[in-house]
């Protein structure tokens, strides 16, 4: 009898477990994505494309994420053991599972352990993020706790190490608080007012092994921010301060504190949008390791003020945000001439005018540095008046007009003037600023619902060289044919016809075709890649010249 009871108990227990398991599986969701970028390299000495002995290189990664209610977990396997030469150049070499996490999200709190990406405010003192194209990933490894104790209040705490290529380095810990008064008090939102404040602290730790200098082992930074909006107007401001933080390769080992201020204002109404932003940074390079350089070990993010050009020729001159010292502004106006008006035409005409100008900051070396013949090492470095302006680094005036004439034809016209201080931005020491004028025409013919043809023409005029591979005038043409939603074919040529060295008047041509099947896109390409610089959000990396065939597969599930 007793045995029967035990068996019955076991049966009920198993049944309950099965039902629970069944419910559990029902709520489960697995998602992910996969990407492969492979390239077959052909040497071409004329354009500076070196011989790659193993000929084929590839970058590949796959993300797998699992969620079940509030629970989530995931990992990413990266195979960059034999990477594309762009990534080899920045030493992004290795393979493994550098990204993995487990998290739980509740109404009042959220916990993540493992690797995570996070940002405090605008990122002036802390931002961990990834950008696969840049080969940039400074994920934090450790623990993140978010508390939402009351409507409109979010507190975030992080503690951990930082990803640098395929290793974990440094120690960072920080806290951020965000209060949204318009969420707290409905009267504000009822009156179209948004108001919020926030503050954050972050501290890094690094042992002082320097035999010559007394270095701070714990370096802290803080930031405060304000967000205010009324109807169509919005204002966002953030100020950050970093305590003494001598860096071996980035600030000449000076003990001067750093600071940054970013202010953005925007106004938007039907047919009109105005956007203004100003930025000043002074000694705000913040790294977990004092000897870091390039894009390694960056803790914070200094946004760029300039427009990221999508057209190829002006995009050859991107601005790299100078955390060590810059002051500037950007203004943009978007206006739509009314539909069905005499000037605007049937579909209206869009006009965009954008201007940005950035200078270095004025630096007055401290007395010790003057006495040492200008060597700031181991001193307070310099003083800098807040509005003191240094040499011009970047200037961009651009205008775009686009108009749809009928259901078939659409035309975009553009002009871009750029002043580019290649000495500071790209390290071409002693080279003069590049001044360039680019004219752009972008014509689309929507043949029918599925078929479209697009022609893009650009011409860049300049009297200067940039580095050794770009000189004076360029011409660019691209023809695209798309059969929605599956096929896409493109032919382009970028020709440095004005190069003063006739042997470098190279046609950087490329032919590519893509096929989309469900959530998978396969792209094949063949052509030449110009040696240049790639920037996303002001963070840049050098792109080496290459020639050959490429295969790209992007898939998600």
């Amino acid at each position: 009898m007793k045995k029967k009871f035990i068996l019955l108990g076991l049966f009920i227990s198993c049944g309950t477990l099965l039902i629970a398991q069944n419910n559990f599986m029902k709520n489960s969701r697995v998602s992910g994505n996969f990407q492969l970028d492979a390239q077959y390299y052909i040497p071409d000495a004329a354009m500076g494309a070196n011989t790659i002995r193993d000929k084929i290189r590839a970058n590949a990664f796959a993300n797998i994420n699992y969620t079940n209610g509030g629970f989530s977990a995931g990992l990413r396997y990266e195979f960059y053991q034999f990477p594309l030469i762009d990534f080899e150049k920045i030493h992004y070499i290795g393979h493994g599972i550098p990204h993995y996490y487990i998290g739980y999200n509740h109404e009042y709190f959220e916990v993540t352990v493992g690797s995570f990406y996070e940002q405090f405010g605008n990122g002036l003192i802390y931002r961990s993020y990834e950008n696969r194209n840049l080969g940039y990933d400074n994920a934090t490894y450790g623990i993140r706790v978010k508390g939402k104790p009351y409507k409109g209040i979010v507190i975030t705490g992080i503690w951990g190490m930082q990803r640098n290529l395929f290793v974990k380095e440094g120690q960072i810990r920080g806290i951020d608080g965000d209060i949204s008064f318009s969420e707290m008090f409905s009267k504000l939102s009822d009156n179209s007012v948004t108001l919020g404040i926030g503050g954050s602290f972050l501290s890094k730790f690094e042992v002082d092994n320097d035999p010559d200098y007394n270095l701070p082992e714990n370096v802290a930074a803080f930031a405060t921010r304000l967000n205010f909006g009324y109807k169509d107007f919005n204002l966002n401001a953030e100020y950050a301060y970093k305590f003494n933080d001598p860096l071996v390769k980035l600030n000449d080992m000076i003990y001067k504190p750093g600071e940054a201020l970013v202010v953005t204002a925007s106004y938007a109404m039907k047919g009109l949008g105005i956007y203004l932003t100003g930025l000043r940074t002074d000694n705000m390079d913040f790294r977990t390791v004092r000897t870091a350089e390039a894009n390694n070990n960056i803790i914070n993010y200094i946004p760029t003020l300039t427009r990221e050009h999508t057209y190829a020729l002006p995009a050859m001159f991107p601005y790299a945000s100078q955390a060590q010292g810059q002051i500037g502004f950007q203004a943009q106006v978007n206006y739509q001439i009314k539909k069905r008006s005499k000037i605007g035409g049937k579909y209206g005409t869009d006009i965009m005018v954008n201007y940005s100008q950035i200078h270095g900051i004025k630096q007055n070396p401290v007395e010790e540095a003057v006495n040492a013949g200008g060597d700031m090492t181991g001193t307070d470095g310099y003083t800098s008046p807040f509005f003191g302006i240094g040499k011009l680094l970047f200037q961009d005036f651009n205008i775009e007009i686009s108009r749809k004439f009928n259901s078939t034809w659409k035309l975009g016209l553009g002009y871009v003037f750029l002043l580019y201080n290649q000495d500071v931005i790209e390290g071409h020491i002693g080279q003069p600023n590049v001044l360039s004028h680019t004219a752009i025409a972008d014509l689309t013919c929507q043949i029918n619902n599925k078929h479209a043809l697009r022609l893009e023409l650009q011409h860049l005029y300049s009297k200067q060289n940039k580095g050794i591979w770009s000189s004076r005038n360029w011409l660019y043409g691209q023809l695209e044919y798309s059969i929605s939603p599956k096929w896409f074919i493109s032919v382009l040529d970028r020709w440095n016809y004005g190069n003063i060295d006739k042997t470098k008047r190279i046609h950087y041509y490329s032919v590519s075709g893509s096929f989309v099947y469900g959530t998978t896109k396969i792209t094949l390409s063949f052509g030449k890649q110009y040696e240049g610089i790639l920037c996303v959000g002001g963070v840049c990396r050098a792109v080496p010249a290459s020639y050959g065939a490429g295969l790209s597969i992007v898939s998600s599930f």
Partner: protein, 282 residues
């Protein structure tokens, strides 16, 4: 809610730590209590290239006496060309009062020894380095490779000469080290100055028979220069630079058994370019 509050407090406590460094930012130079003496002229043709064998050891390391015997044998063969130094570090160098037959209560570990152990990633004992040079891409290696690695170094003319003067000044000693370059050295170089002691009778484990009255020689006692060496500004042939130090001798150390080891090294690779030794007292 309480948990969040607790975690927030922990995080705030963590980030609250911020070190504000006040002037002077540079590590202060050692103030020397004696006047700089006149060094005799260096006879460059008489300068020989010397090497330093660093033996990482511990009194509870059973295989370490074997390595010390090998080191002594090498010294016998090489004479003045080879200098020895025993660095006691790691778990096998920990003092332990009652461990078997002897009492290993002495502690020969030092800050400088620990720094080297960490810096050169010493994890097994006995391990050694010869002038911190790389052999087959290895800077540290077992005692079985010491002699062959030393013999594999191509004999070249020395690129620097080091002279040491030791002055006993009441309760303390003044040490002056003069470095003279015999050829250009473009690399940034630093000067290390260490104190070692011979004839320390103290227990030592041995694979054959533990000895409670083992004679420890060349035992690293302290660093007289900065822990990572002091920067030198010489770079051209015939450049010379004198660095001076003064320090009180620990009462437990016998001055007649102490020696000064001074060496210059490449600050990037740590390779020792020249090394010299002098008895602390005449």
């Amino acid at each position: 809610m309480k948990k969040i509050l607790f975690l927030s407090i922990v995080i705030i406590a963590g980030i609250a730590s911020c070190d504000k460094i006040n002037k002077p930012y540079q590590v202060s130079e050692n103030i020397v209590s004696c006047d700089t003496p006149a060094f005799p002229a260096l006879n460059s043709s008489a300068v020989i290239q010397k090497y330093l064998l660093e033996d990482y050891t511990g009194h509870q390391c059973q295989n370490c006496p074997r390595a010390q015997r090998i080191a002594v044998q090498m010294k016998t063969q090489m004479g003045d060309t080879l200098l020895l130094m025993a660095v006691h570090s790691g778990t096998q160098a920990k003092p332990e009062a009652n461990n078997g037959y002897c009492s290993y209560s002495n502690d020969f570990r030092t800050d400088i020894g620990n720094r080297y152990t960490e810096k050169f990633n010493i994890s097994s004992y006995p391990t050694g380095m010869i002038s911190r040079m790389s052999f087959n891409n290895k800077q540290t290696f077992g005692d079985g490779e010491w002699a062959s690695n030393l013999n594999s170094i191509p004999r070249t003319a020395p690129n620097a000469g080091i002279q040491i003067i030791s002055i006993e000044n009441s309760e303390e000693f003044c040490i002056f080290v003069k470095t003279t370059l015999l050829s250009d050295i473009p690399e940034q170089i630093r000067l290390g100055v260490l104190l070692i002691e011979d004839n320390i009778v103290s227990p030592q484990k041995d694979k054959t028979v533990d000895s409670c009255e083992y004679v420890h020689n060349h035992v690293l006692r302290t660093s007289i220069a900065s822990i990572d060496g002091d920067n030198l500004t010489v770079s051209k042939r015939d450049d010379s630079q004198i660095k001076g130090y003064s320090f009180p001798l620990n009462q437990a150390w016998k001055k007649e058994n102490c020696h000064i080891i001074a060496f210059i090294f490449d600050s990037n690779t740590d390779e020792i370019l020249q090394v010299e030794e002098l008895k602390l007292t005449k």
